[in-house]
Symmetry: C2
Subunit: 192 residues, 2 copies
Amino acid sequence: MPDSKPPGSPRRSDTTRTAILDAARERFAADGYERATIRAIARDASIDPSMVMRYYGSKEGLFAAAVAVDLKLPDLTALPREEIGRALVTHFLDMWEENEVLTALLRVGVTNEAGAERMQGIFRDQLLPVARTVCPDPEQVPARAALCSTQLLGLALTRYVLRFPPVVTLPREEAVAWLAPTVQRYLTAPHP
Amino acid sequence: MPDSKPPGSPRRSDTTRTAILDAARERFAADGYERATIRAIARDASIDPSMVMRYYGSKEGLFAAAVAVDLKLPDLTALPREEIGRALVTHFLDMWEENEVLTALLRVGVTNEAGAERMQGIFRDQLLPVARTVCPDPEQVPARAALCSTQLLGLALTRYVLRFPPVVTLPREEAVAWLAPTVQRYLTAPHP
DNA sequence: AGCCAATGTCAACGCTTGTTGGCCTACATA
DNA sequence: TATGTAGGCCAACAAGCGTTGACATTGGCT
């Protein structure tokens, strides 16, 4: 049996495997699911396309392995209540600029069901619990977290994917200054 | 010369042409650019794929013909100043639910350069002038209009494309109630 | 009726895609 | 040093793609 996986043991092929994942993330982020071909990814990683199949089974499997997102959301309870909006927006900008994985996920999620579900899962499993720690009424938590995601993903969409010039030009600090009160309100303001 | 086009004259093939455009919009909206194949569109329209080529030249040409958006933005100067946020949000929801063309444009724009430029052009040519009529400082108009587009497109993205359950579930009136103040502030509040 | 262009059908082209299996190479272990 | 196995490359497959050109059919015109 090739490729049994005693979970901690390093394999001789690990450099190739991560080269494939890196190339895959880059291509998915730049091109989306369909146009990111296995052949192009393999070319970027300087290996044969069949290696991708050997290590990740299929294109879907490669995508699943390449796009694993940890938003690393900070503990908002340690902050003064009126600063959580600003903290969230800056943190999201950090995450988005740290690497390409979020851009990849967004580009893919728009045309690929599996990608959409994964994006959905990330916001459900990571943003929702954080929202729970700051929202007054537990019943409103999903809606309030969802509202935050509309604004945050809208910024990412126009800034990093569609690249609307005025949004790209907008200095980071100014974007934060404008969006922070919005997110703050979605999380903490009384239901309108 | 086949297909000269005296602009007003109806052609015998007009029913076929609009059938193609309808099917194209539907497929682009559901699948994005790559997965919306000419063959599938032709099948939906019950015609031969070669007719698509005859009438629209290429897939790019078909897309250009199928996705023409008029946001039909209302005259905001006729409104009390504090209601323009709500008016804009409701109008955008109307537009988005009226037909599939905006969803098609968003799905395509995320992975297709031409689509992204078209989306960009729509907001530049249609939203910007409206913003000019309500913004205090002309110099801030592009940034403020862009901020509005981040929130409006973020809502459309999560509600109509990624279909985040809490956003889909959110009653229309509630979405308006939450977003209206945001848009209102982006357009009219003093620079933070 | 007879012509001609517009409309539609059919089959094929060249190309790219994801995916597969066979084969060679190199290393870790015995 | 011998050997088994993981790593890697190559060539090929079937399917699907956008696109093309040759051919049949229709319908409005004189």
